[in-house]
Amino acid sequence: MGYVAVTGGQKAIEAADRINQWYRIKDAAHSLETIEIEKQLRHLTDRVMSEGGLYASEYAALAIKQAEGDLCEAAFLMRAYRSTLERTYESEIIDPGQMRVIRRISSAFKDIPGGQMLGPTMDYTHRLLNFTLENEQAHVLQELLKEQIPEFDTNQTLSFPKVAGLLREQGLLFPPKSSGALFDITRDKLTFPAPRSAKLQILARGETGAMTALAYSSMRGHTTNHPTVGELRVGYVEVTIAYPFDSSESLCLGELMLTEVETINAFERDDQGDVKLRLGYGLTFGQNETKAIAMAILEQGLETKGETPSQDEEFVLLHVDSIEANGFVSHLKLPHYITFQSKLDVLRQTQKLAESEKTETPKE
């Protein structure tokens, strides 16, 4: 048979499920522990939490295992799970200035109060395949590293003042634009022009690759947008809610790891005639540095007027979501023979018209 809908659909799906399980496990010596994914594939877990919009590293690890490492699929599993959860509380505002920092850099200033702190990064590690990882003894390495890394007191909170704060004190920065009333993109459909809080939420859970590509286009060719990273910090912050029985008190729910980026953009003159610098803002779950920088670039791009793709809010905001883009592109795998049949019918009718026109036209 040609292009006919699969019959015995039920059987086919069940068989496909089984075959898929077989391919997942057929060559496995032991089943992958989700804790190994969670603890040893940190960036993958972080990215899935960030694009899935759900901060739950254990579930992210489970999603990665289930999706056999397909990142978009894993983020999608997280989103679909999130759909089933009630939204019972709104957290209080988090101040990343209070972050328990594990890494923090500024490309704007050589010396910043508190100093540069490289922390965990692969930025300066040569991209050479490390063959020793093939036969790594985790406990040996753990012992070795314990000796080499200076012990720091984990009780001591490493928090630093924000670089942007310094610039603001000196009157060099415009204050951040007000987000107005908080818009929740999971509860309300976005309308345009989009409120600032909605833009930031969409970018915060946008697809890393899509956002990097758009930010790259903005930096490379389409605008002269080459911002400076005022500060990039990675660390832990506390999430609190107002205590349900006494809203003057806070209740701490736990910690999140975040990457926060503030970029310094071109200076401009505002309505009052003041000339100051504009700040771009990026914030993601986990350690997702490139995405956070891309977010700051895109966010700033959307605050400026112009004809480039990255300044068009419908273009940026409607196309950076991994789940939506993947879903629609891949839906082409579904049968479309009704629409195709309808198109064929129009084509044949049009061909008939064209033929009759040909015969009507007298030949020279």
């Binding site: 939204r87 309300d188 309308t191």
Partner: protein
């Protein structure tokens, strides 16, 4: 301990919604929700109809305005807020209105003036009014008979109501003049019957 007959926030709201949807899709069609109202707690300070409709339609995402002369309106507001998470708000900001006792004519006027009707770009940003009447009937046997026409109705449909001031109809047609803006009505009576009058429905008074 939970009462097995208590109004079920999953299944009873769904059943009520299906009947409400049927009434909204077929303006004037009466649906019976009396079986669902039996689960409404007796201590509830508003009418069972208001309680059940509020549980079905309201949550943290929307606001409501409650009107009543006879019952203790404050208690009812509080009860609806607590059980649904919705916020009681100024009348001109409310997404849903619950009018539990029939207001005087000038009050009907002020209610209808403050009801949101949406805009041409966003006609859905309009209020829905749940109006408590004494009785509804599909025959020409109550004080306010109405002939309905419009989408959802094959030709015309008869609906009559008791305990509904004709002023509602006059002001409704005034506010709903510029379709697609307008407000939608849900009527419910003492016997647990509901009917709806969406903004598309044209109403003629019988005998006009």
């Amino acid at each position: 301990m939970t009462n097995a007959n208590a109004f079920h926030h999953v299944h009873d709201t769904r059943k009520l919604y299906r009947r409400l949807l049927d009434s909204m899709a077929r303006p004037g069609k009466i649906n019976d929700i009396a079986d669902l109202l039996r689960g409404v707690p007796e201590t509830c300070p508003c009418s069972p109809g208001t309680y059940a409709l509020a549980q079905t339609l309201l949550d943290q995402q929307v606001s409501f305005y409650y009107y009543s002369q006879e019952l203790n309106a404050d208690d009812a507001e509080r009860a609806i807020e607590w059980t649904t998470g919705s916020r009681h708000t100024a009348s001109d900001a409310a997404d849903y209105w619950f009018i539990d006792t029939s207001p005087e004519i000038d009050e009907i006027d002020s209610i209808m003036q403050s009801v949101r009707i949406g805009t041409l770009t966003e006609p859905e940003k309009s209020a829905t009014i749940a109006l408590h009447v004494r009785k509804l009937s599909g025959a020409d046997d109550l004080t306010l008979p109405m002939i309905l026409r419009g989408p959802g109705i094959n030709g015309w449909h008869l609906l009559s109501a008791e305990g509904m001031n004709i002023e509602w109809l006059r002001l409704r047609s005034e506010r709903n003049r510029d379709y697609p803006t307008g407000c939608d009505f849900v009527l419910f009576d003492d016997d647990g019957q509901i009917a709806a009058l969406p903004r598309t429905t044209r109403i003629e008074r019988r005998g006009f």
